[in-house]
Amino acid sequence: MATFSRESRLRAGLAALFLVVALAQPTIMVAGATSAAASFGISTGKGIDACGLMNNTARAQAFWQNTPYNNIGVYIGGSAAACPTNSASFVSSLVSMGWGIMPLWVGPQAPCTSYGSRFSSDTTTAYNQGKNEAIASYNKLVSLGMSTDNTPVIYDLEAFDTSNSGCLNAAKAFIRGWTEQLHVAPAQQAGVYGSSCASGLGSYASNSPAPDFIDGADWDGITSTSNMACISAGNWTLHQRHKQYQGGHSETWNGVTVSVDSDCSNGPVYPAGDTANQGCV
């Protein structure tokens, strides 16, 4: 099976792409957008994501100091994001503590679901909607003061009826748009979060381009990112996987209790990775 290395992604000259983007999307580029040095690293450590940690530096500190956690999922926005951060200082504080950030974008969901915000079942429209979500997520990265060069960004696509071929095709088109647009320079790394079996995650491997990495939810309690139900072992093998191995449960660290999901990584985080050996690889 194919792998999808960062080297295979579409790249173009900065000046040419800036021109293309400026012409194609004249109203949505953020003025003053900056690009720093490559702003990611590979994490092989454990992490958490939790609405209860968003925008609360003290809680984030309690779950950093003397805990096993290296990474934190940060909801940066999207029409379905229940707990997005709008605080550049919160993001900056997380980075200062040492957290590796997994930026999550929670936009419209598959058309065959009952979620309030859904993308189109028309593949062309869904593709363009995926592009628009990517642009919006890029703008949010900038507004949060985050570097954008190769920054990983994860689209949260919840479970849907993958036996519905029309819905699956729309999802594939949407994710193709998401991925293509994030690859426009200054390119980001396109990730997709979802149920490893029920979000069509495995089928996006055949997209062109395929997502750069996946964040698969497989709540089997097994930390290894290699062990992910419904995902071929031959796909996303080059440090291209995060795994959410346990769903919402309460944990108490340093006297602070928060409901968290548990993650294990062998993939990109912002702004730097780690060399943890915690059973994730």
Partner: protein, 369 residues
């Protein structure tokens, strides 16, 4: 294929597969002379009378009939390693709900756990967690949380009026914990942030969202289910929390803060609160070592203070008082090194002196990294 939870072989398999990170309590862990009956982390526990109580883990149901001096594993016919919720209305009637391959398995007992009868609720949804409760021996509800990311809260509801022999599907407004009052009304506390409270008088056919009014006009961080007419909420106050105690004068349509206890640390989850039948309230501090006791007659919006107690651990998620006896279930993490040698210690502690001192009944140490 179903297996008996208490089977020794199954227990060993479950220990290896389900709780590969766990370790049994041993002398090195500093545990007192407790029973060795836990083979994975306890998920829930309840002290039903001053002598009868239960402890649930993924692969075991433990019962005590002597207040916790001894525990017996009971053979429950649900898939091994998949138990997620339990409930006892009294020392006789109990239920255990588990995730199954093709549905939700529910086992029920009417003889205090000596024998169990199983039923299955078919579902195609990918279920992540369960909550089950009964208002009496017949009327109950089960909430099945679907697997979603943290930004969503989706669940299915099932209700029974024949003690769990059959279940009828309803709707659930969110995922969370469920309760059934003596009138048969179903309560659900949950949502993305865990700060929503709903009730349904028609087995999940329709739901009403309760209005929660705090004394400072703020919003709760998390809310608990009603217990003996009291709803408790967590309210963040910076580096500590206030546990607001809310009561209703309109049959649960709205709830107003009529008392409070301030904790020493912050918490983002529903507070561990016990409301006894005499309406006295016990609140465990998330940081451990302190307990707030509020007598019904003393409840006021002026926050009561916590008092130091012996042996109450950090991270109490459940607390229940029956007279002067009580149980608390707690879990808290710690690391020896920087990002390494980390464990979560789960413990069940008990008191027989109205919460002044607590002693450990069970412990499970879960290795993380």
């Amino acid at each position: 294929m179903k297996r008996l939870l208490a089977s020794a072989v199954t227990g060993l398999i479950a220990l290896a597969l389900v709780t590969a990170c766990g370790q049994r309590p041993d002398a090195d862990a500093g545990a007192p002379a407790v029973t060795d009956t836990l083979t994975s982390a306890p998920l829930d526990a309840g002290l039903v009378t001053d002598r009868f109580g239960w402890v649930l883990s993924a692969d075991a149901v433990l019962l005590t009939r002597d207040g916790g001096k001894t525990f017996q594993k009971t053979a429950v016919d649900v898939p091994a390693g998949s138990a997620r919720a339990a409930y006892f209305t009294d020392a006789t009637h109990g239920w255990v709900a588990a995730l199954g391959g093709t549905g939700i398995a529910v086992a029920r007992t009417a003889d205090g756990g000596r024998s169990w009868t199983a039923s299955t609720i078919p579902t195609k949804a990918r279920i992540a967690d369960l909550s089950v409760a009964f208002g009496d021996a017949k009327r109950g509800a089960l909430v099945a949380r679907e697997q979603t990311g943290g930004a969503f809260s989706v669940a299915d509801l099932y209700a029974t009026t024949d003690g769990g022999a059959s279940w009828r599907a309803g709707t659930a407004p969110a995922a969370g914990r469920v309760a059934v009052d003596t009138a048969g009304r179903i309560w659900l506390a949950g949502g993305v942030f865990g700060n929503e409270l709903y009730s349904s008088a028609n087995s999940g056919g329709s739901w009403a969202k309760a209005r929660l009014s705090l004394s400072d006009g703020g919003a709760p961080q998390a809310v608990s289910l009603p217990a003996n007419g009291v709803v408790s909420v967590s309210v963040s106050e910076g580096d500590r929390s206030r546990v607001g105690l809310l009561t209703s004068t309109d049959n649960g349509v709205s709830w107003r803060e009529t008392g409070a206890v301030r904790t020493a640390t912050d918490t983002a989850v529903a507070p561990a609160v016990s409301v006894a039948r005499d309406l006295s309230v016990a609140v465990a501090d998330p940081a451990g070592g302190r307990l707030g006791r509020v007598a019904a007659a003393d409840r006021s919006t002026a926050a009561a203070t916590l008092k130091s107690v012996q042996g109450l651990p950090a991270g109490v998620s459940r607390i229940g008082m029956v007279g002067s006896a009580g149980w608390a279930l707690a879990s808290s993490g710690s690391c020896v090194g920087e990002k390494q040698d980390c464990v979560i210690t789960h413990s069940l502690v008990a008191t027989t002196d109205n919460g002044a001192t607590w002693h450990e009944l069970l412990r499970w140490v879960q290795k993380l990294a």
